[in-house]
Amino acid sequence: MKRTTLLLLILIVLPSCNDSKKPDISSIPKVKYLTYVDYKANAESKNETKNTIEGFNFSPPPHWQNQDASGMRLLSYVITEKEKIANFTLIKLVGRSGSILENVNRWRGQLELKPLTNTLLSKAINVMPSQVGDFQFIDIQRIQKRGEETDRILAAILHKDGSTYFFKLMGPHNLVGNEKANFVEFLEKITTASTQDKP
């Protein structure tokens, strides 16, 4: 009686643990699948789209790969070098969206750095004039120990027409360092649709 009960319990539990090594075969309704031909056509049309968003014209360097921007992101690019990847994002928030110090310290937290005080922030931040307004530019990086692979952030904040725009490039230290000139040039080249239309 006792043995039979135990055996029954084992028989109930064990078959339900099924770590299958065989394929499942089923019949499914016919649908259209995204194939390579469609994918190539989509990729080409994506590259052709103008980088004009929210009344700004952007001229990214050719090797910055356009990505689908979703949620709060207005723009998203990926920069790659061998197997290293850096991500550029542009986020717009309505209003002031926290002080510059709060945002900088949030980014420093992402690199596991201690927060700055207002005094230190004023030394770290640079004002960068451009055609669309003054950017608050900052380069956040850790001192790299030998053999350590750390991240680096280049960020710029622009207040315009009651909104705050956050331009941020984050990725491996060396890759972001190599892209710093491109990032600055990218910011400098931003124009509003109206200024670019002027002769």
């Binding site: 090594k21 065989k22 089923s26 699948y33 790659t80």
Partner: protein, 382 residues
């Protein structure tokens, strides 16, 4: 010797040890969720037989029992102690009933851990789908489009997701060798072409660390080689979950192959008629989600209209649909789809336990009353 083993297995000490270990495991697992995310923490600590520590990249040492081991030991302990200590008499029926409920609860937990399957269904307003996807389980799917009315899907489970594995089946006129497999990846621009057909003309795969963030799924990729039945190479392809692309198998125009989330197909279609997402005023915090859906049969005839909202899932055809999330600025509703054949067992177990405890309490109370009456009556005569 046999008696000694039964004595240990049925001992109260073993039960207390198991419960203590389970308590420690729960604490460790809960803390680990901060770093590992819920999914990986549950897999590592609760859906495992043993917890291992990687002493070196190739050496994993067992350091602690997983929840499955503790559950089995606890189950054996409960059954052994039950049969060695209690006889089925009228007085012990409450204990029998309670123990049966507890045993059933542990068994239900075991069955659920092995057979419960969760997936997600993302539906855009106006969209209709007959499948959900599990982005935590990426699989190689081969779709045979050669039949007039329906396609044939050959889905290889995730145990094949490794370098050197072969995807083959007697009904397939070719086989596939996984030349390289990347559990998480990113497609990058590259002129180093490794493929003979399709994707990979100007892209290659960069291996990136596995994401443990519950909101950031891993996107695997693979390089594969298609071989005919004589092991002649027909072509090489690059598959990537990032592209959601199905690629034509070289040499077989009606065959597609994809690396994508495992799909669970239903014998019906679900259409999202409307999605409501309300937030607390002045904040981004969601206060209410609701999906209004219609279920259509395979002929397209509407069969059921339903509302799915927080704490009000829809149970239909053995599946439970929960409102889980949203996307694309509130136009996409994400439903969590759970198939759990043993979902009723815990309820039955709780009923048995409650009845058992009720009987036990009532019997104890009745005994006490009888005893009290006996003590009171002699005084009453005086």
């Amino acid at each position: 010797m046999k008696k000694q083993i039964i004595k240990v297995l049925s001992s109260l000490e073993l039960a207390i040890t198991c419960l203590s270990v389970l308590f420690i495991l729960t604490v460790i697992g809960t803390i680990a969720q901060v770093k590992l995310g819920i999914f990986f923490a549950v897999e590592r600590y609760f859906n495992s037989w043993v917890i291992t520590w990687n002493a070196t990249p190739n050496l994993a040492l067992p350091v602690f029992p997983g929840a499955l081991t503790i559950g089995v030991v606890l189950l054996i302990n409960l059954i052994a102690s039950h049969f060695t200590r209690f006889k089925l008499t009228k007085d012990k029926i409450g204990i029998w009933c309670t123990h049966f409920g507890l045993i059933l609860l542990i068994i239900a937990g075991g069955i659920s851990a092995c057979s419960r399957y969760e997936s997600q269904m993302a539906l855009e307003e106006g969209e209709r789908k007959n499948y959900s996807e599990n982005s935590r389980e990426m699989v190689f799917d081969i779709i045979d489009q050669g039949q007039p009315n329906q396609d044939r899907l050959i889905s290889f489970p995730s145990t094949f997701n490794k370098k050197g594995a072969f995807l083959e089946h007697e009904s397939l006129p070719f086989k596939v060798e996984i030349t390289d497999y990347y559990p998480n990846s990113k497609l990058i621009k590259s002129q180093n072409r490794r493929t003979s057909h399709g994707l990979g003309e100007d892209l290659s795969v960069a291996n990136i660390p596995i994401s443990t963030n519950d909101n950031v799924p891993n996107l695997p990729a693979a390089y594969i080689t298609i071989l005919d039945t004589n092991n002649e190479i027909l072509g090489t392809l690059m598959l990537s979950a990032e592209t959601e692309l199905s690629q034509v198998v070289p040499g077989f125009e009606t065959m597609l192959i994809a690396l994508r989330p495992k799909r669970v197909y239903f014998p019906f279609h679900i259409a999202l008629d409307d999605f409501t997402h309300e937030k607390y005023p002045g904040t981004r915090k969601p206060s209410y989600f609701e999906s209004r859906i219609t279920i259509h049969n395979n002929e397209g005839v509407p069969e059921l209209e339903a509302r799915i909202y927080m704490n009000h899932p829809l149970r239909y055809s053995g599946h439970t649909f929960f409102q889980a999330s949203y996307d694309k600025e509130d136009t996409v509703s994400v439903l969590q789809v759970v198939k759990n054949p043993s979902w009723l067992l815990p309820y039955i177990a709780c009923v048995f336990t409650a009845i058992g405890l009720g009987i036990q309490f009532w019997q104890g109370f009745a005994k006490y009353r009888r005893k009290q009456k006996k003590e009171v009556n002699p005084n009453a005569l005086v």
